[in-house]
């Protein structure tokens, strides 16, 4: 509103303008405040839901301390924290190329599960018939291939007919889940669908069982950062994400980029599935991925699609998850309390992005120089 024609019409109470940029330190400050506010609301929610806290409100300090305790109290818990972080991070990283391209891949859950399935299928049929090293390589290839196929199919239709990718990839999750259920019936003659731990196909442990997984996740972070920031492919992904028309104009084959990027994204999900199958579980259930494919979407978005930032955000989510799980244990609440905590904190972080992207101008505080 220009100064000249003031007060002719009633101005709205709040006027919004988009900010150009914000200093990263300030932006992280706002996010930090959001997390703190979220934790405060979690405390309030806890008073409503946790009976032990209602009986003894003095334990609220212990309540917050438990968040840290859940992840770092013992050495075992610390390892578990980094292991869970690494798996979540791997899936979030896998989503990043697709998201940078504005291809809303909601199918990480299914793509990862197919990765687990590929590895377990190879171990089930081939275990003991070949050297362990060969088996592990074949499992790896199967995982990556299955993930790539599961991600590639929706991309093919998106590139050719612009089929809605969010809904397509979402449906593929359930197809994957029932496919696994089918094979569990076929593989387990007793009908219990409980495959049990397979004897073959376990990643070697260097020092600690979880170390390989954590190292792979770290290497993946660096590799993806370089791929996205410094390679021609990464540049093409960014251009397609910014504007499909611009991409066409500068001669980028949009369809090719979409398919290539989604195959990569699916393959990386498959890799995460391989880590779960060969590195941890050595078995499969329909819940092998356990919703992490969906959590990874939030991790990826919270980090603004930046691989380095994802180390932080996946750490935050894992911390909250473990902390709240510890709370359910110590304060004997339902085991689903972590979901409530994570949900509340996410609402606050999601909401805080608004204050980073937009500037609020209140009526009566109009300053000069505002466009």
């Amino acid at each position: 509103m220009r100064n000249g024609k003031k007060k002719e019409t009633r101005e709205p109470l709040i006027h919004l303008t988009r900010r150009d940029t914000m200093h990263p330190a300030k932006a992280w400050g706002i996010r930090g405040i959001a997390v703190l506010l979220g934790l405060l609301v979690c405390g309030l929610a806890a008073f409503l839901l946790v009976e032990k806290l209602q009986q003894n409100p003095g334990r609220i300090g212990e309540f917050y301390y438990t968040f840290i305790k859940g992840s770092f109290a013992t050495q075992r818990k610390t390892w578990k924290f980094f292991k869970d972080l690494a798996i979540l991070l791997s899936i979030a990283l896998a989503l990043t190329p697709a998201f940078r391209m504005r291809f809303w891949n909601t199918g990480a859950e299914g793509q990862t599960l197919m990765g687990v399935w590929g590895a377990i299928a190879v171990a089930f049929y081939g275990g003991g018939k070949m050297p362990e090293g060969v088996l592990l390589v074949l499992m790896f290839l199967a995982s990556v291939l299955c993930g790539a196929i599961w991600g590639g199919i929706p991309a093919l239709f998106k590139a050719k007919w612009n089929t809605n990718e969010t809904l397509f990839t979402l449906m593929m999750n359930y197809v994957a889940s029932y496919l696994v259920a089918y094979f569990l019936v076929v593989w387990v003659p007793s009908g219990s669908s409980n495959l049990g731990k397979l004897k073959y196909g376990k990643l070697p442990s260097f020092g600690h069982d979880y170390l390989v997984i954590i190292l792979v996740a770290l290497v993946l972070t660096a590799a993806l950062y370089i791929y996205l920031e410094y390679s021609k492919h990464g540049y093409e992904i960014n251009v397609v994400g910014e504007s499909v028309r611009t991409a066409r104009y500068v001669g980028i084959g949009v369809g090719k980029v979409i398919i290539r990027t989604m195959i990569l994204s699916g393959a990386l999900c498959g890799l995460a599935g391989y880590l779960i199958a060969a590195g941890l579980d050595q078995t499969i259930t329909t819940e092998s991925v356990g919703g992490q494919g969906f959590t990874a979407i939030m991790v990826c978005w919270l980090a603004k699609f930046n691989p380095i930032g994802m180390v932080l955000t996946s750490g935050l989510i894992t911390l909250l998850d473990h902390g709240a799980a510890q709370i359910s244990q110590d304060f004997s609440v339902a085991a689903d309390f972590p979901d409530v905590v994570v949900g509340i904190i996410l609402f606050f972080i999601i909401g805080s992005e608004f204050f980073i992207n937009f500037q609020l101008h209140f009526r009566g505080h109009e300053k000069e120089g505002i466009k």
Partner: protein, 317 residues
């Protein structure tokens, strides 16, 4: 009643879960918002209704009042979830996918925490018979067609009528197709988005409530509501964004979903255990097929609303 009839009516009844979920999601999507929080919203709708019944289930209120208050409790709880979603995505212009997923995490988690506090004897055993009016005394699957089932059909038809036959509906569709254009002709975009999302969420919540209190009528039922929320989102595509078609679509989904439990009883049909997961996969495969076919045919009236998933900021052209 023979087995075929029993199977068909069971599927018809089961469908009401999806009718509510999809009709709610259609209203939201028509305002341009892809609410992936519907599974969480449906859980919370179930929890809200059950907690209300937990309060009044044994209070001696007249039956019809218990039924109505339960429905209101369910609607209100789900609508509150819709309010969180709309505040974040409409007012704060947050990413819809992320907000929706967070809402699903939150809603499903909170439902499980809350439902552990409710007493099934109070909220389920007595009220179940009330909700199964008029066929509560039957022993076959006809008993499942209760108050909430008839309400579901009515809501779906009403929603279609409002969307495609009234000025309000026209405005709402305009908001979903092109909010900037709607804004320019003087439609209050924010109000439409808020109302559509909140009413849509309220309706979806009833789906969870119906499933727990009438269709399953078991204290474990709330654990599987989330899965049917995702299926409801699938059904929106299957019904081509038309609420009245969800009645048909939901029956097809119901048939596909419950055939795995009936097929073994049909004489002459031999199925193995392995066939069950494949049968349950069918609804999703069919949805994918519909999604592909509609995108290939590319008919304008069968497409998702054009601004689906995008947030609207007036000063950005």
């Amino acid at each position: 009643m023979n087995i075929w009839m029993n199977f068909f009516i069971d599927s018809l009844a089961f469908g009401a879960t999806f009718i509510y979920g999809s009709t709610g999601e259609i209203l939201t999507e028509k305002a341009g918002h892809l609410n992936l929080g519907i599974p969480g919203v449906m859980c919370m709708g179930g929890a809200g209704g059950c907690l209300m019944l937990n309060l009044i289930g044994q209070s001696g209120l007249p039956g019809f009042l218990i039924v109505i208050l339960g429905i209101l409790g369910s609607f209100a709880a789900a609508m509150l979830c819709g309010l969180i979603y709309s505040f974040l995505t409409v007012s704060l212009r947050a990413n819809q996918n992320v907000t929706g997923l967070a809402l699903t995490t939150f809603g499903a988690g909170l439902t499980r925490v809350l439902m552990k506090k409710a007493d099934p004897v109070v909220y389920l055993v007595g009220p179940k018979q009330l909700y199964r009016f008029p066929f509560a005394d039957r022993t076959d699957s006809l008993q499942l067609l209760g108050v909430l089932w008839f309400l579901a059909v009515a809501v779906a038809i009403l929603a279609s009528w409002v969307l495609f036959r009234t000025r309000t509906g026209l405005n709402l569709r305009a908001v979903g197709e092109s909010p900037a254009t709607a804004d320019a002709v003087g439609i209050n975009v924010t109000r439409y988005k808020y109302l559509a999302t909140m009413i849509g969420s309220g309706i979806a919540g009833l789906g969870g409530f119906f499933y727990i209190i009438d269709y399953m009528a078991s204290q474990e039922a709330y654990l599987s509501v989330e899965a049917f929320g995702w299926l409801s989102i699938a059904l929106v595509i299957f019904a081509l964004w038309r609420p009245h078609l969800t009645i048909l679509g939901s029956t097809v989904f119901g048939l596909l979903f419950s055939c795995s439990s009936y097929i073994a009883n049909i004489p002459g049909v031999q199925v193995t255990m392995a066939a069950k997961p494949i049968l349950k996969m069918l609804p999703y495969l069919v949805t994918i097929l519909v999604l592909i076919v509609t995108s290939i045919r590319n008919k304008r009236e069968n497409q998702p609303p054009a601004s689906l998933g995008l947030s609207y900021f007036r000063e950005e052209r």
